[in-house]
């Protein structure tokens, strides 16, 4: 922190990585490239892409980002603040130009609003819009007012000039807590108030910061969103069920379940399905990426709490915490025997040879016997008889 606060970012040649120590959150050039390559790996891209990401992240003009907060708890931002590679400050000071964020911007009140308006005007059609929280729509959206006007309008307005829109967190992605029954504010996810716009959803409560960071860096690098699933979630992060990569999966397969908190099975690390784990119906990469950068196994299921399905609409905040999940493997695992799996042994060459041999012998013997009958060709039959 100290080292880079002395630098004037605008005057530095960003491309000159060697002369830029400190501005990268204390990273050396080598460390920075390693980090970018790591991000590439998270995205499932080749290591060469790491270089492109590094170039994009250190481009002279940092892409502006407008972050709007609707009905939210700031959990998403808090989660983002706990990212360590890079740290949030690296992201917002070196890679992007975070021009507006209610919790993080240094200005306040009219000053902040004016800067937002200025930035949007200057960067019309080029900035990235990030929204956290759900959008209240009842009564004209008066249940979430920022700077004297409903957030609904602010979002709509910003969306018009945005190059890309990201909905971060479950609330922005599918409604989250505010949209739970009885939904007094008629809270809606961002994509529902912006019909016709592509909104990249990063659900989670809170979402894993690296899913967000990786998406942003992908956008910067390629100028387009990463591959998305049907619910517009990046496939690299939400392509698989938690159940598929869960470290407790073998216990599920073997039929070993924790039956209640603190029982033998729970202490042994058995599968949490029976106490309500929603992993089998929730798409997220939690088991592979973990939280908090403190090592493996650091995620809800890893520490013994059933997944509650925050990334999945209709599961998190909707299903009772300890209700059983609907197991949603796309296709049943191949380890199940099929109802009519072929079983039993077929014809082996040896068995066929034995059968053919016997048949041949029978026909031959029959023919031999026939030859001598009714007085014909007696001699051969006699010979045969003599043998016995």
């Amino acid at each position: 922190m100290d080292s880079f606060s002395n630098h004037d970012l605008e005057t530095h040649a960003v491309q000159d990585l060697d002369g830029y120590r400190g501005a990268l959150g204390g990273l050396t050039r080598r460390q920075f490239l390693k980090y970018c390559t790591g991000v590439a790996a998270t995205l499932g891209l080749s290591s060469l892409m790491g270089i492109r990401i590094a170039e994009a992240a250190t481009a002279a003009k940092r892409p502006p980002v407008i972050w709007l907060s609707a009905q939210e708890c700031t959990g998403c931002t808090e989660s983002l603040l706990r990212a360590y590679h890079p740290t949030l400050e690296t992201l917002i000071l070196d890679m992007i130009s975070l021009d507006y964020h209610e919790a993080l911007c240094s200005g306040a009140g009219h000053q902040a609003e004016a800067y937002k308006a200025k930035s949007m005007k200057e960067n019309w059609g080029k900035f990235v819009l990030v929204v956290d929280g759900s959008i209240p729509t009842k009564d004209g959206g008066i249940y979430c007012m920022v700077a004297g006007k409903p957030i609904l309008e602010a979002v709509k307005e910003a969306a018009e000039g945005a190059a890309a829109i990201i909905g971060i967190g479950s609330c922005a992605s599918w409604g989250g807590v505010p949209s739970s029954d009885p939904n007094p504010t008629h809270a809606k996810p961002v994509h529902e108030v912006l019909p016709g716009k592509t909104v990249i959803n990063i659900p989670g409560c809170p979402p894993n910061p690296y899913n967000f960071l990786s998406t942003v860096l992908y956008l910067l690098t390629f100028g387009k969103p990463p591959a998305l699933d049907a619910k517009n979630r990046p496939k690299f992060a939400y392509g698989r069920l938690i159940h598929e990569n869960c470290e407790r999966r073998p216990h599920f397969d073997a039929g070993r379940f924790a039956l209640e908190f603190g029982d033998y099975g729970h202490r042994q690390g058995f599968c949490l399905y029976k106490i309500g784990c929603k992993g089998p119906e929730t798409h997220a990469n939690c088991p592979t990426i973990g939280f908090g950068d403190v090592g493996e196994g650091n995620w809800p299921v890893g520490i013994g709490h059933p997944c509650f399905g925050c990334t999945e609409q209709g599961v998190g905040f909707t299903k009772p915490l300890h209700a059983l999940a609907k197991v949603q493997t796309y296709t049943p695992p191949t380890a199940f025997p099929a109802v009519n799996a072929p079983k039993g042994e077929g014809v082996s060459p040896a068995a066929a040879a034995v059968v053919a041999g016997v048949a041949g012998l029978a026909v031959g013997a029959g023919a031999m016997a026939l030859r001598g009958m009714d007085g014909g060709a007696d001699s051969s039959a006699d010979q045969h008889g003599d043998d016995r």
Binding site: D253, G255, F336, V339, K343
Partner: protein, 364 residues
């Protein structure tokens, strides 16, 4: 269509037989089938709801443990498996219970016939009128007169395997790979049930009085078959057959998708139920009539035949077979009469023979 021509014709013929020709054929049969057997007074059984099954195979693992059976793998899987995973392809001499899958097309949705998949549990159905008992020459197969559980006594068994041959569900299996193999079949965890006096007496009240508690309390703390005990969703449910039947009928009466509290483990037990939507059931409880009725019954989302549950008439083949035996051998009257006639004829003819012998008559 997956069905081969042969299967189709077989099915068509079967349908014709049951629909039209059966009464005619029965009229033409040289005997009448034996009277069907009735459900025992305190019949216990299982209700398997395929739509609730998630395929976790907890029941398979629990069954192995409760019955002391080894891990099994078919030879063609042995190379990558190396004994680590239990991958029985079907029930066998070493596997009493197995979850199998029906797969069609894209396998996109559970319990759908086309482009769907479904799970089915396979083990002994504990017939009301079992073929295995009817064919067993040494009474090794027995049906408990109180609970109706079909058990096997290996000390009596001679290993002739006619129970395997005759069972309409292909359930009893012999251990062909053992020099001293035995017949293996699900016995509804009789050894666990034996701990509860409710299952050994006809009179619940007397049992309860002796134990100094109520029958309900006894029932609630009963040990139950391992597969039902571990089933997380209540897909395998244990209980009195009559109550299970009522439960199945309740489910059938509800609208698909309606939320329902599925009991778990033991019907009438004190475990919390699991709330889930009612499945899209086939409108028939399998095992209610099949083969004269079974004590394990099935509710499924796809047609039963697709799940390896054969279409069966509502009488047991054992009744046909025994009807024949009883007609021919009732009181051994016919054989003894026949023997009498034969002895008479043979004696008369032998005597003639002796008389003729004196003439030294040569056979032509």
């Amino acid at each position: 269509m997956d069905m081969s021509r042969r299967q189709f014709l077989r099915g068509a013929a079967g349908a014709v037989a049951t629909a039209a020709a059966a009464p005619v054929a029965e009229a033409a049969a040289p005997f009448a089938p034996r009277e069907p057997k009735q459900l025992p007074p305190k019949a216990i059984g299982m209700l398997y709801d395929s739509t609730q099954c998630i395929g976790c195979k907890a029941c398979v693992a629990a069954c192995k443990e409760a019955n002391g059976k080894p891990v099994e793998q078919p030879q063609h899987l042995a190379q990558w498996n190396e004994g680590a995973w239990d991958t029985a392809e079907d029930i066998s001499g070493k596997t009493l219970n197995v979850i199998r899958v029906y797969q069609n097309g894209a396998m996109a949705e559970k319990d759908r016939e086309v482009n769907g998949y479904a799970f089915v549990k396979r083990h002994c159905l504990h017939c009301v009128d079992p073929s295995c008992i009817s064919v067993c020459p040494v009474s090794a197969m027995q049906k408990n007169p109180v609970t109706g559980i079909v058990t096997h006594n290996p000390d009596a068994c001679i290993g002739c395997r006619y129970c395997v041959y005759g069972c309409p569900f292909n359930v009893p299996h012999y251990q062909f790979d053992e020099p001293f193999g035995r017949i293996a079949k699900c016995q509804l965890c009789s050894h666990l049930l034996a701990e509860n006096p409710l299952f050994s007496s006809r009179d619940n009240a007397a049992v309860a009085a002796q134990a100094g508690t109520s029958a309900t309390a006894l029932w609630k703390k009963s040990r139950i078959p391992a597969c039902c005990d571990v089933c997380p969703t209540g897909a395998s449910l244990f209980g009195w057959v009559e109550e299970l039947q009522a439960e199945a009928e309740r489910r059938l009466a509800l609208k698909p998708g309606e939320m329902y509290e599925f009991p778990r483990g033991l019907l009438g037990g004190d475990r919390p139920a699991q709330a889930a939507p009612i499945g899209h059931y086939q409108p028939h409880i399998y095992g209610e009539q099949e083969s004269g009725g079974t004590q394990v019954r099935y509710l499924t989302g796809v047609p039963h035949e697709k799940l390896g549950l054969p279409k069966l008439p509502d009488h047991s083949f054992a009744a046909v077979s025994e009807g024949m035996q009883h007609t021919l051998y009732k009181g051994l009257i016919a054989p003894v009469a026949l023997l009498g006639g034969l002895v008479f004829l043979a004696r008369r003819n032998a005597r003639e023979d002796d008389e003729r012998k004196n003439d030294e008559e040569r056979p032509s």
